[in-house]
Subunit: 513 residues, 2 copies
């Protein structure tokens, strides 16, 4: 739901032969906007229109932006104003990202009439003044547990944009695999990926990042450390501790850890993270930090020795030392650091104040980190893989929707530290066959919840969620049904989730747009 | 796992240019076998073979069957003997269904070597004597809550055959929709389906039934009654009771019920079920019978009156009366009746002894129905949609595997009444996007458990389940991963679940084979 919406009671008609977007001034020089209007023309006009009714038309939508700067960064202005009246619609926004959101909104307002086979707009005229409640609205995908083809990631970027979400958090590596190509360390992916075919080349990465850029979606990479990274050691010897007692690598490789006392580890990270910051230009880098297992450190003589020599009296202190070194490296590349909440819990004293704490262990930690002055992104309630690989209960969309992401008891200043949330889709039981199904429609409900605090009645929410679900399916996203079709009160609406059955329906070819 | 398997320690090689199936005698006149060998050639030889090694080959597999009778019925012999030795393999079976299973087994024994790029057979020679432990191994799909395209059902039939399963239980209708075309009552689907596009024409049904036949999979239709059938009333007035007090049709249509006192209902069923028995030639017909809600009957004056006039003293008695009439109709068409276990619980006195009781409410009911002399099919532990629309926990594949479907405490004669099981995939949150993912690989684990009681070690089971999962994916079934790829001890094996990444991999076009 938009932040603010004024509507009327008129009906306008739209017909592709008498409709055009018009990019005004600066906007006409933005390649992103040029491509976006083509894309949305294909999305909007994908039905087999056979009738052009008599009546007032919407013929032109004029788009203007204050700046066509296409450097997509955290915190960019995403606001827009959309007006629709007879003949003329207008989209205006400070940045191109707002205009992209406005196009999405427009595409949801122009509807195809299944009975009369024409396009129309109900409740015109419109004045929509809109901007997101939270600046961070994301989905996390995991390409370490199973390889996800490039096309699957592109599809996720499309679906994010359809839900006005703006972050793809790419958990690139884990104990199981390191699939992203590094030019500095070619063996890293060559030996650390599942196979030589399961590698993202740097061209692949660029394609993914650019595809996101053109949809206003940032790609935030994660390189998880000091644990969850056994596979780094396959290509670069000397990084991973050998801890044969507590977790021999053959059977419990997922406990393996970087050697926090090894200078060559920090040398490696300096080069590796520097290179990664060039192929992932977002400016925020996630360095994991979750689930460190101290047993390995405890049984390694060189570590105990190092701690004694350097007056490090506990493992959490050693862990903080590691994080301090890693964050110093991020600092040299001017990266905003992001890490899972263990880094805050165990090492907050060394965390730079511009760190983003990614909370996955409960809302309590969320409030605490905010009270300590850190910016936070919340994921505790949004593990969409729950109920599957991790057992337990599936996260229901109603729970996502009914849960206000903003924690209770914060001052207005503290509330500003709450950046938003990410739905996480951990990959143990996820592949290209089910990631879209597992993610959508539920992540879209989170997207809506993060966009605005306008809720609407329960019945209204059902129909809106269902419509958005069908809309994603119309555009080629393999969303799963909210409920049976009967939820739609009108029989003709029940067809929209099976557009492939409808003669003449042309699914937009999003890869080419 | 086969029932009985003897293996050796030789390696044989297989190369498509020097390999042929040979249909002997009668077998050569079976269209089903002719198509099956073509299909399995495409399935087996789908990799990009570049090397033909020196060494002993398997060059011919001779197939003979005692009978090419292609009337696929419950209880048909499915046994086969498969031998593989240098040069010659043999498949022999009483019926063609056994030969189809043997081809599947052979396709799993011939493996592609990812390193050397050739096909080989390890552990030759083979002598496999095989037959299923249970004759009923199925999956139930629901086309009433959401429409499933014909292609989705064909895909399910393929996947069933890959897992040596032999029943597609098609829950055709429910309160929400009646999507199968009836020539006798054309308005039934025209008005009772979600839309005029969400209808299975009789040609569609024939295509589905025939596709199953060619894979040895029976299609058992279900027409649920006397409740779960509101949509029947949309096309044929007078069938459904109007019960505005307890469940007005606008809001609780799923409680609607046939009028059990109306002769026109039985007239309708006589014609309708007769017609359905011609387009669904299986010989078993499932007539539902679950979740009858007596509140509606209780508030209908004509029903109370009828009960008084006919000395029917309770609603269960009226329910039994309805079932008696329905089963009498099935009897006139020589159909084996099948129904959900409520029919057994509430109306067993009227149930013909040849009835199959489909148990969904616990293993207790299963044993009781068997002790009462009924044949049973078990589904209580196999609701693959659990954890999704019905909340609660997902059914884990390990639970399916570790659970012996045979109830404890039965005599050998009673054990014969345990026909097998079906994995149920209720459709509230299922569509063409996620039905394969929700069903497979888990239903395949049930298939394996129903086929034989050979278990193997736990580690062995993991690898076998994973391999079968990847095999399905190679053949185009959108199965979800068992775990991350690391479970495969050999790195080259980890590619098999992403065959589309492998240069030259040709996915078999199963629709044409």
């Amino acid at each position: 739901m938009p932040n603010s919406i004024d509507t009327g009671s008129d009906v306008l008609y739209v017909t592709p032969t008498k409709f055009a977007f018009s990019l005004l001034g600066e906007a006409s020089r933005s390649d992103i906007l040029q491509k976006a209007v083509k894309r949305y023309e294909a999305i909007i006009f994908s039905w087999n229109e056979t009738n052009t009714p008599e009546g007032p038309l919407l013929t032109t939508v004029m788009i203007s932006v204050d700046s066509i700067n296409d450097d997509l960064k955290f915190g960019d202005d995403e606001s827009y104003i959309l007006t629709i009246s007879e003949n003329i619609g207008t989209i205006s926004s400070p940045r191109i990202w707002g205009a992209l959101h406005a196009l999405e909104t427009l595409s949801q307002i122009i509807s195809w009439n299944h009975t009369h086979h024409y396009y129309n707009i109900l409740h015109a005229p419109y004045l929509i003044q809109d901007s997101p409640r939270f600046p961070w609205r994301g989905v996390m995908v995991d390409t370490a547990r199973n390889f996800l083809p490039v096309d699957t990631l592109l599809s996720t970027l499309d679906a994010l944009s359809f839900n006005k979400m703006n972050v793809l958090h790419w958990h690139t590596s884990d104990a199981e695999a390191v699939p992203v190509e590094s030019k500095s360390f070619p063996d890293l992916a060559k030996k650390g990926a599942y196979s030589e075919l399961g590698i993202y080349s740097q061209e692949d990465v660029q394609r993914i990042v650019t595809y996101g850029l053109y949809r206003g979606v940032r790609v935030v990479p994660e390189f998880d450390m000091p644990t969850h990274n056994y596979a780094y050691g396959l290509g670069v010897p000397g990084l991973i501790l050998d801890c044969p007692i507590s977790h021999p690598i053959e059977t419990s490789y997922y406990h393996a850890s970087f050697d926090p006392t090894s200078e060559s580890v920090y040398k490696f990270l300096e080069v590796f993270l520097g290179e990664m910051s060039t192929i992932f230009p977002d400016g925020v880098m996630h360095v994991g930090g979750d689930e460190v297992d101290y047993r390995c450190w405890n049984e390694t003589a060189s570590i105990i020795e190092y701690m004694q020599e350097n007056n490090i009296t506990s493992f959490p202190e050693l862990y903080a030392y590691f994080e301090k070194r890693v964050h110093a490296i991020l600092g040299t590349y001017n990266l905003i650091p992001m890490a899972w909440d263990e880094v805050y819990t165990s090492a907050k004293s060394v965390l730079p104040k511009n760190s983003i704490v990614h909370v996955w262990r409960g809302d309590d930690t969320l409030s605490k980190a905010i009270k300590d002055g850190f910016r936070v992104v919340s994921s505790s309630d949004y593990y969409l893989n729950n109920g599957f690989d991790f057992g337990g209960l599936q996260v229901q969309w109603q729970d996502i929707y009914n849960n206000d992401p903003m924690p209770q008891g914060l001052t207005p200043d503290e509330q500003k530290l709450m950046l938003g949330a990410e739905a996480c889709v951990w990959g143990e039981e996820i592949n290209h066959n089910n990631i879209e199904q597992r993610t959508w429609f539920r992540a879209g409900v989170l997207g809506e919840r993060l966009w605005s605090n306008q809720m609407g009645s329960e019945a209204d929410v059902w129909v809106r969620v269902m419509k958005q679900n069908c809309r994603m399916q119309q555009r080629g996203i393999a969303a799963t049904p909210v409920e049976n079709m009967q939820i739609f009160p009108r029989r003709d609406l029940r067809r929209v989730c099976t557009p492939f059955l409808i003669p003449g329906y042309k699914q937009p070819d999003l890869r080419k747009l």
